[in-house]
């Protein structure tokens, strides 16, 4: 796979070039934090960031999206029949995505894109996207990607990996799609020390992360034993079921489907939803299989750390981005939950 060097001052020019050919999405500073959005000005992309506050899952699975439209006008022969809506699936580049977030899409793929059933919107958006990742030279204290099978320089899910080596970026193609993207741009001469620099940065980043827990120490336990373990009493105690963890999580994909109507026009909507909310499982009859907070808190962690790995044999459904750790108003820390699931508390090295 090819590798090119882009001097720092040349990057805006390349961004501009891509904007001419593709829809370009990247991290944009919003005044207080960075978020992924479609870039209108080449200078708006800001790669000097730790990570976005929200995960980029909304690029493939928007928080609210119209699934279908319909009319209820009785004069219209199509009244009550749901219709597909045209969507923009033109090629796009997502620049500056972190390796943890790109890996999340790979974990989410097994849910949205199966052999027999495919979510058409997820699949088409994945197909039309080229992911240009940005390696993490300085992971933050809430990051734990290396504990869940990823890494600060991991390329899973990426088409190109950018490494910031100081005066510029080394761009490494990971897939043929990434190869095509790099083929279109003019690189600068690669500094001789770049390969060694990348090695050193990668080692230092990985060393700074350590191991927060051992995944196998709970994934290998019996599901029902973990389910009935008293640890959930402790974990749920402070939880206020606000759902923030699910909102910021790149591997929380659960959604609701609801109809919205204004006069005689309507739309079927798909909206993010979460296992933290009692209505999520509330039957029409009044019965609720997860009516208690403990059950809902347990569902979230068990789904990520036990049910998903058992179902798909694909590792845990957590990429270690640490967003839930940062955003939780009552300081519930998934790393601590994982350690409790591993047999009491095993403190990290």
């Amino acid at each position: 796979m090819s590798e090119i060097y882009i001097a720092r001052e040349k990057l805006p020019g390349i961004v501009e070039q891509w904007m001419g050919r593709y829809r370009l999405f990247g991290p944009v500073f919003q005044g207080q934090y960075h978020e992924f959005e479609q870039v209108k000005q080449p200078g708006a992309v800001d790669l000097d960031f730790v990570n976005t506050k929200l995960s980029p899952k909304g690029l493939f699975h928007p928080q609210a999206e119209k699934m279908f439209e319909f009319t209820l006008d009785k004069q219209n022969p199509e009244a009550g029949i749901l219709k597909e809506i045209p969507r923009d699936y033109s090629e796009r580049v997502i620049l500056g995505i972190r390796p943890c977030d790109a890996r999340a899409f790979v974990l989410d793929d097994v849910n949205f894109n199966t052999n027999d059933i495919k979510d058409p919107w997820w699949v088409r958006r994945r197909e039309c996207s080229t992911l240009v990742g940005l390696a993490c030279n300085d992971p933050c204290s809430t990051c734990f990607c290396t504990s869940v099978g990823g890494g600060p320089f991991d390329t899973a899910g990426l088409d190109v990996l950018l490494v910031d080596v100081g005066d510029g970026f080394v761009a490494q193609a990971v897939t043929p799609k990434g190869e095509d993207l790099l083929a279109g741009i003019q690189g600068d001469p690669m500094p001789g020390e770049a390969p060694q620099k990348i090695e050193d940065l990668k080692k230092a980043a990985e060393a700074s992360l350590g191991k927060a827990f051992q995944v196998e120490s709970f994934t290998q336990k019996n599901m029902l034993d973990l389910f009935s373990d008293p640890l959930w009493e402790e974990v749920q105690f402070s939880c206020i079921n606000c759902g923030t963890c699910t909102f910021v999580c790149p591997t929380c994909w659960c959604f609701d489907i609801q109809d919205e109507v204004s006069e005689d026009k309507g739309a079927r909507m798909r909206l993010w939803d979460a296992c933290m909310f009692p209505l999520f499982t509330y039957h029409g009859s009044g019965h609720n299989p997860r009516g208690q907070k403990l059950q809902r808190v347990r569902q979230r962690f068990m789904h990520k750390l036990k049910y998903y790995p058992d179902k798909y044999g694909n590792g845990v459904a957590c990429v270690g981005c640490g967003r839930c750790v940062k955003a939780c108003p009552v300081n519930i820390d998934i790393r601590q939950v994982a350690r409790l699931m591993s047999d009491g508390c095993v403190c990290p090295a």
Partner: protein, 280 residues
């Protein structure tokens, strides 16, 4: 790419009020497009999402049998927003159906076996589908004895009364209809709860499978009876209900342990259920 979220448009062909409390109505639906009907190939035990534009969707077991051509049928209990709206819809109205969804009773495994069907209340819908399917002349010889225990609180709450009466007349199916209680002096059938009647009639477990659908309380007290009769957990089959949205194993709502009830179920053996968290 086929969009699994897009309902097939259907027309309501008929609406029948099934129960005297008027809480259950049966809707016969006809596909507007013949190619949609051809695509909707189902087996007894599966369900579909009934879609009403502007109201939403509800997951409902398919009450018709694939041997009945030209329509599909659903018996809907009036509970929430969509089902209440649907109850007021009329013959000729247009709505949608998405499916068929989920797995089905294990018809391949059941070939050459005796089948015991136990149902309670309005959970008799996919069991009706199963009975009609097995009694079809093409299929009847594939199965051994068929025993049916079906109970409701009172006679007026039994679904499909005419068909029940017709099945009572046949000699290739043993019907055990029961009600919890009745003041009707002409009531010809059993009086008693489903578990008690099952125990009395004691269908043999030899070479037999039991399919049981009904309210949780009925299932709870019938399972020990089946165990006593000699049915092992891998030959007791049930169908779960969960709140659902997508119906295709994507939206996450009906997750129990490693299973999505909508896609991996709703039909599970008791043996399988014993390995899952009992959050249903």
């Amino acid at each position: 790419m086929h969009n699994p979220y897009l309902p097939y448009p259907v027309r309501i062909e008929s609406v029948v009020t099934e129960s005297e409390d008027r809480n259950q109505k049966t809707f016969k639906l006809v596909f507007l497009n013949p190619e949609d009907e051809a695509r909707f190939r189902y087996m007894p035990g599966q369900f579909a999402e009934l879609s009403v534009a502007g109201q939403g969707e509800i997951p409902i077991g398919i009450a018709s049998s694939p041997t009945e051509k030209g329509f599909i049928m659903f018996t809907v209990n009036k509970v929430g927003k969509v089902s209440s709206h649907l109850h007021n819809m009329q013959e000729g109205d247009i709505m949608g159906v998405r499916g068929p969804l989920g797995n089905w009773y294990p018809w391949d495994t059941l070939e050459g076996k005796n089948v015991v069907i136990i149902g309670g209340g309005f959970a008799f819908t996919t069991l009706r589908s199963s009975i009609v399917y097995m009694l079809d002349p093409e299929n009847r010889s594939k199965y051994g004895n068929i025993d049916v225990v079906y109970g409701a609180r009172m006679p007026g709450l039994l679904l499909y009364k005419e068909e029940l009466a017709a099945w009572e007349q046949r000699d290739d199916i043993n019907m055990h209809i029961t009600v919890d209680g009745t003041t009707d002096p002409n009531w010809k059938y059993n009086v008693g709860f489903v578990p008690t009647v099952t125990k009395e009639k004691a269908p043999s477990a030899d070479n037999a499978y039991a399919i049981i659908c009904g309210p949780p309380i009925m299932i709870k007290f019938t399972l020990p009876v089946l165990t006593e009769l000699g049915f092992p957990p891998d030959r007791i089959i049930s169908s779960l209900e969960m709140r659902m949205k997508c119906g295709i194993g994507i939206c996450g709502r009906c997750n129990i342990g490693t299973e999505y009830v909508c896609k991996d179920g709703p039909v599970f053996t008791l043996e399988k259920l014993a390995t899952l968290p009992n959050e249903y």
